[in-house]
Symmetry: D2
Subunit: 242 residues, 4 copies
Amino acid sequence: MEKKIKILGINASPRKYGNTYKLLKISLEAAKKLGADVELIHLYDYDIKPCIGCLSDVQKACRYPCVIDDDAKIILEKILKNDGLIIATPTYWYGPSGHLKNLIDRMTAFENMIFITGRSLVEGKVAGFIAVGNDSGNILAISYMMTVLNSMGFMIPPWALAYYIGNEDVLKSKNSIMDAANVGKVIVDAIRMTKKGHEWYDPKILEKIQLDIDAIRESTETEYRSQWPIREKIILKLTKQK
Amino acid sequence: MEKKIKILGINASPRKYGNTYKLLKISLEAAKKLGADVELIHLYDYDIKPCIGCLSDVQKACRYPCVIDDDAKIILEKILKNDGLIIATPTYWYGPSGHLKNLIDRMTAFENMIFITGRSLVEGKVAGFIAVGNDSGNILAISYMMTVLNSMGFMIPPWALAYYIGNEDVLKSKNSIMDAANVGKVIVDAIRMTKKGHEWYDPKILEKIQLDIDAIRESTETEYRSQWPIREKIILKLTKQK
Amino acid sequence: MEKKIKILGINASPRKYGNTYKLLKISLEAAKKLGADVELIHLYDYDIKPCIGCLSDVQKACRYPCVIDDDAKIILEKILKNDGLIIATPTYWYGPSGHLKNLIDRMTAFENMIFITGRSLVEGKVAGFIAVGNDSGNILAISYMMTVLNSMGFMIPPWALAYYIGNEDVLKSKNSIMDAANVGKVIVDAIRMTKKGHEWYDPKILEKIQLDIDAIRESTETEYRSQWPIREKIILKLTKQK
Amino acid sequence: MEKKIKILGINASPRKYGNTYKLLKISLEAAKKLGADVELIHLYDYDIKPCIGCLSDVQKACRYPCVIDDDAKIILEKILKNDGLIIATPTYWYGPSGHLKNLIDRMTAFENMIFITGRSLVEGKVAGFIAVGNDSGNILAISYMMTVLNSMGFMIPPWALAYYIGNEDVLKSKNSIMDAANVGKVIVDAIRMTKKGHEWYDPKILEKIQLDIDAIRESTETEYRSQWPIREKIILKLTKQK
């Protein structure tokens, strides 16, 4: 039997009826048609306080559940219960909305569990991204979110992104609709293909595979010795210049 | 029988013996220990001319094989033959080396096949990233490469990145070595789990899943009508201000 | 008589005693020694609500003072009263803290006055940036802030940035101290050199300088005609390929 | 008498007749109308080899003139002779063209003179940026260039950026034309206001202003002592959790 798939969509726009919401809705509807259970939440319905940076004082002080008692807890819990996450944001100054940035900062509590239990709580979950703006900047916002979530342990399936530039009704833009629907699809596909609970990052990898660091060192030194004379000439020439 | 895995590593540093090379070597060795066939090439051994932007004149003019007759062809062919790609770059001004950027630009010939045959030639391949620099900027370089390759159709497995800040021998940095080895591991894992030749982006998705755009439009309009009166008050108040 | 210079420093870290604060303090002390009046505020002492995106509904609805009644008003007012602004942030996930991002979003009320009065309220003010983190990402955070503030109308003097990677006491890092002191210096220098109230962006520039767009069009067409035959050959060849 | 102003424009597009060229031409024409001497060069007319990273071997080995003997020398010399620089690039994969990235890498020879003579050769020059693409990504490309050139010592005047999204003739886009003309204007204004040869970054600043680092340390320690008890409680509570 196929495993049950659950996907959470977060609308990080204050406008519950705008283009950001619409593209997110399309992604989720596509995922649903493809067999997933989906849930859409409006981030602006939740009070999210800024991260207070506990780990800058003591690395292990940042852990899940986060010490701050606010609505972020509800959302973080939802993220944990789902296999996939689609974040949709209006592009505010080429980035995610500040409200969403606060949530992202608070998600540190998932990733920092690496220092407590050896595993990130979101390891292997699958993420996709939507950004909507009237001007340039969508890709900068998406690029930012993608890198951060990958660093937390999320997998990013091919073309896990959709955006729309403009202030017309996005439902008139065939391309954006198609991209958004495919964000839903690639997340469903990726969740189906990957093993739930698989350990991706292995902190004991070096022992397990018995990597021969000395051999690598030696081969680079051989390479260095063969190449250095040429570069040395350049450098000597240069450093002799006044 | 498990499918045969092939991974290509590209060293985009002019120094064949430096830290960039070393981390890449570690990633590839790890992948090899985990059962992959690996190949490492030094990008600076190849002459790569800059992209001439054919598609800006005619969208369909950019296709594989690229019209420019130089060494990029050899590398592009290698990328196609492999299931995974690890790009390792020195961080030059917070980004990939210009030589690597030229290769990335030339990889447009893979992605633009979407407009010719409906499929990107690198769809579903798996990518990882390494950046090495003496200062800040590695993450900016990695973030850039990750977003671009995802937009071309590459999958990005969890923690598909490793970097090193400093000018000591990277082989003394346990963390960077461990991260690099894991880049090799997550790529192997992702290739094993995902179906070769799987169609991720489906240009016919809207027809297939019969998405009810009208229902989405209607639900946003209902939402709009319920929320607008509150926002309208704010806006009216504001636009009346001098 | 030299004009009186005022510089505001915003510490966007929740830790009032940390490295972010220290570098900011150094910048401001340097500016003070060079003749400026300086003020340092801790952003976490202020309650800043997220931007509600009024302009996405009606472009002219976003204006200063912002419609949201919270502590952001106090900070926005301070920014207006100063000639220079130094933003210091801890690097949270390669970016500014979410709390700071909320402030940046709210600063839209300055820039959007372009659509009301024709001028951004922060036009010609001078900005500098500090980021501190235990890992890579400082430059990504700085790059983000620099581009945004420049787009709002701030001038960025040479080397308007300082950062520190690590978790030691930054006061032991000569380089970071020197960079931070110079952030103070370049801002003072830039404020001294530039005319207060100068109109940088001129919405009537096209009329004033009577730019001959037709001549530009014609010259590009001539260029096109001479170059096209060569490119056309390439493209024809390509589009004939199957 | 007003100082004579010279501005160089670099068209980093292979297409000498395209939108990138057109916007650059507008910037330069505006600057000319405002009294500047201007020169436009097509980067693709020059052979630029990739940077070979000498400074990774020996910091002082990278210096101007660069050891590589190619056309970059001609361009670097032109940059030195001008007070201002406008870089116009097509947006290739959300960034500058690889050909331009190679030039940027080679400009390291200007900045690295800090380690030889104490001064960057481009210190205090003024820069502006243009990016043109059919899709999202222009701001990412501009953000990248702005941060890099500021780190080399360039000043960035307010709104030193113009872009165009689309594949129509940019000469029909009033906004882009106006922005591009203003890039020319703000650069001329900034050059006029700033002192030629002014020392911005002062490596001896700490001695000169006699910054009291001890006082800063002490004040942060006082702050720490007053705030720590509250944070300690949080952290103790957290670290006691299983």
